[in-house]
């Protein structure tokens, strides 16, 4: 169970505003974050 636990840190490449860049969850400390997983691009929902 993850709720009430520390969010696992991760680093990954992201597409953002026309660029590819590295994103780390740690960089968002001090802010509220919504982390949304989804099955795949170009799917319908």
């Amino acid at each position: 169970m993850l709720v009430t636990k520390k969010a696992p840190d991760f680093t990954g490449m992201a597409f953002h505003q026309g660029k590819y860049k590295k994103v780390s969850l740690e960089d968002y400390r001090g802010k509220w974050v919504v982390l949304c997983f989804y099955p795949g691009d170009f799917t319908f929902v």
């Binding site: 993850l2 709720v3 009430t4 636990k5 520390k6 969010a7 696992p8 991760f10 990954g12 490449m13 992201a14 597409f15 953002h16 505003q17 026309g18 590819y20 860049k21 994103v23 969850l25 968002y28 400390r29 001090g30 802010k31 509220w32 974050v33 919504v34 982390l35 949304c36 997983f37 989804y38 099955p39 795949g40 691009d41 170009f42 799917t43 929902v45």
Partner: protein, 143 residues
Amino acid sequence: MSYDKLQALNVEVLSVSTDSVHSHKIWNETELSKMVGNDIPFPMVSDQGGTIGRLYDVYNEEAGVNVRGRFLIDPEGIIQAVEVLSPPVGRNPEELLRQIKAYQHHQKTGEVMPSGWTEGGTTLKPSPALTGKVWKEWNPHKH
């Protein structure tokens, strides 16, 4: 748009799928930007191999993709709320906004939000005096 409402609440968004960043770029260009009228404003993270999905227990090994998992993480890095849906059904941004407002209100005031709470609704202040007396403060048929 929901993203503007999230920004107004000082909430950042990260989306994650097992697609490549190149796929994210093309999806944004060819479809998403046409749906929302501008580029997707938040980072679209690539999770090829499902490393991040495994950390959050939303990676489906058979299908090789992440299911719809949504994690609300507070400024301390603690996960406050989780919603996980299987692929056919999309999420409800209004419910996410409701939960964010409730957790932010709690962190500011220490008050708690009873079942069905929406913004402006009755909140409760936990104390020994309230124990056994919640019925005086809150009635599920009225709120």
